[in-house]
Symmetry: C2
Subunit: 268 residues, 2 copies
């Protein structure tokens, strides 16, 4: 699945972004460039940017903002050099009035000078720390995308934006749950601590074997499903709120940045 | 100076806000209601709100946003019940085109339906934790406002807003500096770790005995000046950027909220 990884053990974020840019790589990014921060994407016209930034401020757990571009810019100042936001994610989604209408490999033809890009923290960023702490990431072991679910947890609304949280799930052995909490607590900018440990029904998930985004993974006896707030939340919010035009990443298909996870907590 | 404290040992945030509302209390708030989060204020017309929210996102160290109101609202959803943002700070400042034009005790007559209020974290909020850790807060001991200084540290600009950081200073004995760092690291929403330990000149402060805001305090032999990012930074930015109309708090004259400092790190 990750052919690029198997042939290139020294894959850097820059090389991976170039492979996305030339459409040689268009897969999900979990496990790639371990230790580097990965990012979700929301791109909106200026007229909706204030409401969305306020939505993120009011919902920092699912929407921790890493960086916001100036209007029209496809560059970043902080999280990556040599980047083109319209091409360097492996895959994108186009939403019109809340409806998913396309999943292109780049959004060059959709670009407009009034677009503002929001980079949002991603739980893939804490996975290297989890693995270093001896906690298996099942979806990486099974070479699939992380399972993600819609929930009944309401986000705080802001202007035109409202909707429920999306969560990602990782099965964790009972005796490693404390460790999973303390490892992720260290990284609040990539969703931080879990939202829910255990019963999926508590947060409105009726069938753990059927994720709304990504792929199902095996949950072994003695393991507990643990749920983290997910940067796909804005996509559920876009579906609920129906703004005119939004570009996002395809779930699991992230931008890999130049910033190390361990540097995140020291960033000014 | 704090007559209200000396007569009322059980002062609650609600009672203090009511005393501000009726203009019985109009002093600085350092040391009041220990353990409760205090907040800086910036109020702007809607047309400037996006640029300011983006400025705060890009400068979380001086401008950690606690809450943003809906346009025109003088209430809060999260940080306080029974609050009137136009009356419950002890004193306000009015800026027109970057110039300080008034320092009223309430801003009822300045209120407009297009105003958005930003509550910003305040270092007074970590002082109870510092005192509990055995670290003297000299300005509290000396019953004065904390000393604050303009610096040469540039903030990241956003839209129309640009300018330099403002910092607050506390003298710390050399053997307590590590403790002062670790205590404040726990509270990133109220400025977190220091920006500078030691030489004021490094950050452009030429005379430590002459603060730009607040009052000078004694620095004893064996003590080092330690500087934290300060929520007065937006006022230096307003002076530099000259937006049409801004209301702020008077430096040191904070809103005392209903939220405990210890709860800040667990807030979703």
């Amino acid at each position: 699945m990750h052919g690029i990884v198997e042939t290139e053990l020294t894959l850097t974020p820059t090389k991976l972004r170039q492979a996305c840019r030339t459409e040689q790589f268009c897969d999900q990014t979990s496990g790639l460039c371990p230790g580097y921060t990965q990012a979700n994407l929301v791109i909106l016209p200026e007229k909706d940017a204030y409401d969305f930034l306020l939505f993120a401020q009011r919902n920092p757990k699912p929407c921790p903002i890493l960086e916001v571009t100036d209007s029209g810019s496809r560059q970043l100042q902080k999280f990556a050099q040599d980047v083109d936001l319209a091409r360097d994610f492996p895959q994108y989604r186009i939403y019109q009035r809340g409806k998913l209408v396309a999943e292109p490999l780049n959004v060059v033809d959709y670009w407009r000078p009034d677009l503002v890009s929001f980079l949002i923290g991603c739980s893939f960023s804490f996975e290297a720390a989890m693995i270093a702490a001896g906690i298996e990431m099942r979806h990486i072991t099974e070479h699939v995308n992380v399972p993600m679910y819609n929930t009944n947890i309401p986000a705080k609304s802001a202007g035109r934006f409202h909707g429920n949280y999306v969560v990602s799930m990782r099965p964790i052995p009972e005796n490693q749950i404390v460790r999973a909490v303390t490892v992720t607590e260290q990284l609040p900018q990539v969703h931080g601590t879990p939202l829910q440990i255990g019963d999926p029904a508590t947060i409105g998930i009726t069938d753990i074997s059927k994720p709304d985004y990504g792929d199902a993974v095996t949950i072994n006896p003695g393991e507990v499903p643990v749920f983290w707030a997910c940067g796909v939340t804005p996509q559920a919010v876009v579906v609920a709120s129906k703004p005119d035009f939004v570009i996002t990443h395809a779930p699991g298909h992230m931008l890999v940045t130049d910033i190390k996870d361990t540097d995140l907590k020291y960033q000014l």
